[in-house]
C-alpha cells in the first residue's frame, strides 16, 4: 500500500485517528463528530473490521454506508443490529465500561487533557462567553473511557494552561491524581490540525508525537499556551495510505462532511 502525496489536513486527521482504533474497540459517538465517525467507518473498512460502533449512541454496529447527515442523526443508525435504549442499556454499558472508547473536542483543552465546553471566564455564573455545555464529555471523563481528543483549532486560546471550567475530567492535575480518584483509563491521544500528541506516562503532561507536513515543533509550541513535553526528535505525521484516502474520499465521506469541523479554524481545508 503506497502513501499519498496529496492530502488535506482533514484527511490526515481522519486517517490518523482511524489507525488508532482496533477491532477490540467499542466506540460510541456524540454530536458534531464528523472526524471521529469518519475515522470509525474508515477503520472498519480497513484494518479493524471487528470494531464495534454504536452510531449516535443508539444504532449498534450500524452500516450507513457513508457519513450522511449529522452524527447524532437517525440516518446514521441504518442497518444496525439493535436500537440501544439510552436510559438503561446505553448508560449501563457506559458506566460499566463495556463501551470504552469516546472521542471529544472542546473550546479549551489543558496540558492534562481536561476539557471545557461550558463557559469562558473566571466566574461560572458570570460567563464572558457562554459555550453550549459539556454534553457527553461531562460523563465520559469520569466514566473510565479511553478518550481521543481532536481539535481543528490548535491555538493558545484552545490549548490553555488551565481550563476555566473543568467539564470533562482528563488526567486532572497530572501524575496519579486521576487514579487516586478511582478512575480508570483517560485521555490517550490528541489529534489537531497541526500535530499529534499523547501524554507522558508519569507526569501525564501532553507530549508532542508528530507534526503534520509543513509544521515545525516550534510552531506547535507557539500555538500552545502550556509547555509541551518535547522529545529530542519529532517525526512528521505519516502520510495517509493511498487506499485509506481513496476509501475516505469515495466511500466513507464522499460529501466531505468532515470539513464542517473546520469552521473557525485557521487551517483551511
Amino acid at each position: 500500500m503506497g502513501t499519498a502525496k496529496e492530502y488535506t489536513i482533514d484527511e490526515l486527521m481522519v486517517v490518523t485517528l482511524a489507525k488508532a482504533f482496533t477491532s477490540d474497540d467499542i466506540i460510541l459517538n456524540g454530536t458534531v463528530s464528523f472526524i471521529p465517525v469518519s475515522a470509525v467507518l474508515l477503520a472498519r473498512a480497513t484494518h479493524a473490521p471487528g470494531l464495534t460502533w454504536v452510531a449516535g449512541a443508539v444504532g449498534v454496529d450500524a452500516q450507513p454506508g457513508s457519513v450522511i447527515g449529522n452524527t447524532l442523526d437517525p440516518t446514521m443508525w441504518k442497518g444496525c443490529v439493535m436500537y440501544l435504549p439510552q436510559y438503561e442499556d446505553m448508560w449501563s454499558y457506559v458506566h460499566r465500561g463495556t463501551l470504552e472508547t469516546f472521542c471529544i473536542r472542546g473550546a479549551q483543552i489543558d496540558q492534562y487533557g481536561n476539557i471545557n465546553n461550558s463557559i469562558i471566564g473566571s466566574d461560572y455564573h458570570k460567563p464572558k462567553v457562554r459555550l453550549p455545555g459539556s454534553a457527553g464529555m461531562g460523563d465520559m471523563g469520569s466514566l473510565d473511557k479511553r478518550v481521543f481528543i481532536w481539535s481543528t483549532t490548535h491555538n493558545p486560546r484552545t490549548f490553555v494552561k488551565k481550563v476555566d471550567f473543568r467539564a470533562c475530567v482528563g488526567w486532572l492535575d497530572g501524575g496519579g491524581s486521576r487514579a487516586k480518584l478511582g478512575l480508570r483509563n483517560g485521555p490517550q491521544l490528541v489529534i489537531t490540525d497541526l500535530c499529534v500528541m499523547d501524554f507522558e506516562p508519569t507526569s501525564k503532561r501532553m507530549r508532542l508525537v508528530s507534526v503534520h507536513r509543513g509544521i515545525t515543533p516550534k510552531q506547535v509550541q507557539e500555538q500552545t499556551a502550556f509547555e509541551l513535553v518535547m522529545p529530542a526528535s519529532v517525526p512528521e505525521t505519516p502520510a495517509p495510505d493511498a487506499e485509506y484516502l481513496r476509501l475516505l474520499r469515495e466511500v466513507v465521506d464522499p460529501k466531505a462532511m468532515r470539513k464542517i469541523e473546520f469552521r473557525g479554524s485557521a487551517t483551511k481545508v
Binding site: T31, V32, V58, I68, G69, N70, L72, D73, P74, T75, Y83, L84, P85, Q86, Y87, W91, V94, H95, N117, S118, Y124, H125, K126, P127, K128, V129, R130, P132, G133, S134, A135, G136, G138, D139, G141, S142, L143, F165, R166, A167, C168, V169, L172, R178, L181, G182, L183, I260, R263
Partner: protein
C-alpha cells in the same frame, strides 16, 4: 396526576393552558430531532413566563423560548443547534445573566429525573466525579460515600417536573402513545414517568383497536397522559424518525438570523407570532404535501 380512561384529545391552545407560569417543564428534544415544537410555538404565543425547562439536549425550540422571554432557568447538558452551530439566544441571555443555567452531566440529570419517576428522594451516579460540574449546585448534586464500600458516588436529588411535553408518532384518543421505534431516547422514556402532568402531540390519531393490535409499540399508557393534541409535522423543523427528516433550510435560516436579537425577532414574527394556529404554520410551509420532501433520509 392519574388520568382516567377518557377522551384526552384537545386543541393546542387547550393543551398549552395546562402549562402555568413558573412551571418546571421536561421538554423532549435533541439538537435536530423529535421535539414538540408545535406546542412550543403555542406556549410562546400564549406568553408563558418564568418557565424552568429541563432537557437533555436543548435545541431550536428552547432557543426560541428563551428569545421570547418564556424561560427563567434551564437545566440541560448542552444547548446548541447541532451542526448548525450555537444557540445564540441562549448564549446572549446567559452572558447577560438574564437566564439561570443549571448545567449537569447527562447521567446526572437523568438520575434526577429517574429518581423523580421512581418516587425516590434521590438516585446515584458516578458521572462527573472530579469535574467542576460537582459543586455547581450542592442542593441537587452532592458527593456521598457508598455505605458498603466507602466509594464516592454522586447523590442526585429527585426532579419531578410539573409537566412533560412530547411529540410522538401516534396515539388513540385515550392517550395510549406509540413510538416507532419504541422509546430509545431518554426523554421519551423517563420524562413522562417523572412528570406530574403529561402533554403529548402526535402525528396521527388512531382507533383504540389499532393500539390493541400493536401493543408492542406503545410507550406511554393512557393513565399517564393528561392531554393529547393532533399535530401532523408537529416536530418541524426537527425530525421525527422515521417519518420525516429535519428541515435543513429552516435550521440554516434560523442559525443565520438568530445571530442578532433583531434577526431572531423577525424569524419569530414570521414563524411563530404571525401564525395563529398549527394549520397556518403548515400552510406557510406549503402544506403537508410540500413537507413530503422531508421524507428523504439521504
Amino acid at each position: 396526576m392519574t388520568a382516567r380512561k377518557e377522551d384526552k384529545l384537545v386543541s393546542l391552545q387547550q393543551a398549552a393552558a395546562l402549562v402555568r407560569d413558573g412551571d418546571t417543564i421536561a421538554m423532549q428534544g435533541m439538537g435536530t430531532q423529535m421535539s414538540p415544537l408545535a406546542l412550543v410555538r403555542e406556549l410562546i404565543r400564549a406568553g408563558k413566563r418564568d418557565l424552568q425547562v429541563a432537557m437533555v439536549v436543548g435545541g431550536i425550540g428552547l432557543d426560541w423560548m428563551i428569545a421570547a422571554g418564556c424561560v427563567r432557568k434551564v437545566m440541560a447538558i448542552i444547548i446548541n443547534l447541532d451542526e448548525f452551530g450555537m444557540a445564540n439566544n441562549f448564549r446572549r441571555a446567559a452572558e447577560a445573566q438574564k437566564l439561570e443555567v443549571e448545567e449537569y452531566t447527562e447521567h446526572q440529570i437523568l438520575t434526577r429525573l429517574g429518581a423523580g419517576a421512581m418516587g425516590l428522594p434521590f438516585g446515584v451516579s458516578r458521572s462527573g466525579l472530579g469535574s467542576d460540574v460537582i459543586g455547581l449546585h450542592p442542593d441537587t448534586t452532592k458527593v456521598i460515600e457508598c455505605p458498603f464500600t466507602g466509594k464516592p458516588v454522586i447523590a442526585c436529588r429527585a426532579l419531578e417536573p410539573d409537566v412533560a411535553i412530547l411529540h410522538a408518532h401516534r396515539a388513540d384518543r385515550f392517550g395510549n402513545v406509540q413510538f416507532f421505534p419504541k422509546p430509545i431516547w431518554t426523554d421519551v422514556d423517563v420524562f413522562p414517568r417523572a412528570a406530574k402532568k403529561v402533554i403529548v402531540t402526535v402525528e396521527e390519531i388512531v382507533e383504540n383497536e389499532e393500539i390493541r393490535r400493536t401493543p408492542i409499540h406503545t410507550g406511554i399508557p393512557y393513565f399517564k397522559v393528561d392531554a393529547l393534541v393532533h399535530a401532523p409535522y408537529g416536530a418541524h423543523p426537527c425530525s421525527l424518525f422515521p417519518k420525516y427528516n429535519f428541515d435543513r433550510a429552516v435550521f440554516q435560516r434560523y442559525a443565520d438570523e438568530s445571530r442578532t436579537p433583531e434577526g431572531t425577532r423577525a424569524f419569530l414574527d414570521e414563524f411563530v407570532y404571525g401564525l395563529k394556529t398549527h394549520d397556518q404554520y403548515l400552510a406557510k410551509l406549503g402544506g403537508t404535501a410540500a413537507l413530503k420532501r422531508l421524507e428523504s433520509w439521504d
